[in-house]
Amino acid sequence: MNTLEDRVRQALAQRAEHSPISTSAWDRALARSGRPLAPRLSWPRRLPAGLLIPAAAAVAVVAVVLASLALASRAPGADMGTSPASGSSGPVPARVLRSKPAFTAIIPVTAGSATIYFWYTDRKNPQLCTFVKPAAAAGRLASCAFLRVAPGQPIAFQVDRFGSLYYGVATARFISVSVLLAKSGKTIPGRVVSGRGFPDRAWAVADPGTASGWLVFRNATGHEVMVSYEAGPAPRRR
């Protein structure tokens, strides 16, 4: 007969095989912490072998930011606009960053089938810059706008040029965003992010393409602020 110690060992080993692992855990951890991890420009030392896989998963989140920061440090130059997918030197094309150099971190957010990259340019008059990479489109779009939260308002937002995303800025107290569809009551989750140097938090949700609904923002205590939206391109705040 097995000893008690053997039974404990076997039970723990079998129980461990069925431990739940969620792919959204990292997003939830970031949302709860209220800020993304500050990217480090140097990963100093060798990690023990047992840490390599989980550490790689954690570091992969900031790897995109590191690559973007490297691009942001180049000299200013060409203009912005639609840029072909081919020939880009990273998630955000170098010529875009030469035109609108980032003084903040560059934060990617995936919403629906598109990925939007946020950063701020012009330290004296900060503009929120975005670079949208839709999964099924031939080109990519970059733009910058003076998108700031007005006094007394919780958020400011607009729709990207592909019409596939709502995005904008929000005050620091909000940690999550979602779209609540008026007809079905269905909820589409989005993401609220921040980065080194960001004056406001940025957020993005996939455009549900419905006639009406609400953007629902929540703070850390679960308090909600709902903002009505209408389908179609929102007025731009240039």
């Binding site: 129980r15 069925h18 991890l37």
Partner: protein, 143 residues
């Protein structure tokens, strides 16, 4: 680390593990010995689980409900005797449970367990011994 947090009784083991790695990244510059990283993350998991048990009463209540749901699922997957051991383990105090899991799942030494739990090796020895005794008592008659 997710599995460790789960075995330690965390209500949200993925978040615990991710937060532990987040703490590692934030503290990476203050870690002078790279080989200490694994122990640091392990200690973070233990601390986070313990804090969760101590302070998040609401989370504990939710976890109890979640465990009820999970128990039926695991009743199928776990052998009956294993399920009894896990149930008995869940009834142990947090530190005793930590000592048992670190000892018999990770096969850590008393010194390593002490580092992870932030206690002395003597305390670890006592916790493991008392934990095993409690498990034996709880499982008595079911063997």
């Amino acid at each position: 680390m997710v599995r460790l947090a789960d075995l330690l009784g965390a209500d949200d083991p993925e978040d615990i593990a991710q937060e532990a790695f987040a703490q590692l990244i934030r503290k990476q510059r203050s870690l002078r010995d790279p080989d200490a990283a694994l122990g640091y993350v392990r200690a973070c998991v233990c601390n986070l689980v313990r804090n969760r048990h101590r302070h998040l009463r609401v989370a504990r209540l939710r976890r109890s409900a979640g465990q009820d749901e999970q128990s039926s699922e695991h009743a199928v997957m776990l052998r009956q005797d294993h399920a009894e051991v896990i149930a008995a383990l869940a009834a142990l105090p947090v530190r005793r449970r930590q000592a048992i899991v670190l000892r018999y799942w990770l096969d850590l030494s008393e010194r390593e367990i002490a580092a992870a739990m932030g206690v002395s090796p003597g305390t670890v020895k006592a916790q493991v011994s008392r934990g095993l005794a409690a498990l034996g008592k709880a499982l008595e008659g079911r063997i």
